[in-house]
Symmetry: C2
Subunit: 187 residues, 2 copies
């Protein structure tokens, strides 16, 4: 196994593009080599097999999606944060589509599903903890509901953006925050 971190990252980013464009069945180590413009056999020097590649893609998606702390609004504002999250998703559609493809492939591959479940569970708990420590309004239950609502909104925006035109997202996000993160939580 070679260990050139930049090359490894470039291969994972190429794999994300292949997943987003071709779907999970189109993802082979050879297709990753072609997408990255490297000699055939390169990806197999970095990833023992396709299953290992899938798990590493999962972790690369987080690096691609995680906000830069310098981009956070000051003072923190939940509505502004969620609009930034949506805008970042729209700039990184391939990453989110690749994530949906991994979720679906996980339905057929229990070991991948276990990885995705552990990864998403850790992300969600980290988000809840960060939110509660940040001084933003809302309680644990509200942040959890916001997570489900934003996941639904993102799935719609990724797969049927034309449908969302009837429901302007800024208004949807404002209402989510007002109802799910009340200043004085109901419970």
């Amino acid at each position: 196994m070679r260990h050139n971190p930049e090359r490894r990252t470039a291969l994972l980013d190429a794999a994300i593009e292949v997943l987003a464009r071709e779907g999970s069945r189109g993802l082979t180590l050879r297709a990753v080599d072609a997408e990255a413009g490297v000699p055939t056999g390169t990806a197999s020097n970095y990833f023992a097999n396709r299953a290992q590649l899938l798990v590493q893609i999962l972790h690369r998606t987080r690096e691609r999606i995680a906000p830069d702390p310098a981009d956070l609004p000051a003072p923190l504002d939940a509505k502004v944060l969620l609009m930034l999250l949506l805008e970042r998703m729209r700039r990184e559609r391939s990453v989110h589509i690749a994530m949906l493809e991994l979720r679906l492939e996980g339905i057929r591959r229990p070991e991948l599903q276990a990885e995705v479940a552990a990864f998403q569970g850790a992300e969600l708990e980290a988000n809840i903890a960060w939110h509660l420590e940040s001084g933003l309004p809302g309680d644990r239950q509200g942040v959890l509901l916001l997570y489900f609502a934003m996941l639904g909104l993102i799935v719609e925006d990724l797969t049927v953006p034309a449908m969302l035109e009837a429901y302007p997202v800024a208004g949807v996000i404002d209402a989510m925050v007002e109802r799910l993160l009340p200043e004085s939580p109901a419970q």
Copy 2:
């Protein structure tokens, strides 16, 4: 084209199973014949091509998922309705997985995406209208938010059910209804 409605429905249900098990790339007219246990060539007598099959699957998913009016609780109760929706989804996982596969294939096929967007948009508006006419609590904005939150919950339950074990769904659904469908809406 033959017009035996029962045969046509059986072929669409077979196609849903193929989509759920193999993903959209595995869906061919020939695979549908094999799944339905009918002679090769049968599906191509019912569907002019794969694109037409995909659109008809979309409409069949609604028939499979729509609640039987006799199953609705009386008096209507939003929490009970949403738990019934989730339980029906769990009994019909293949249908929902097939829907996710159609959404993802739509990303790559603009004409399918337009069909899915029109279908989901019409379903959502019908749900909102039914809710507002039913006498259930909540306003238009609240029902829309509930739709996104339930979509997110369903995607999690389909793809990473183990993750959801940490967040008992009955409590999640109760909180959704309490916060999103207040008796006296905030706006």
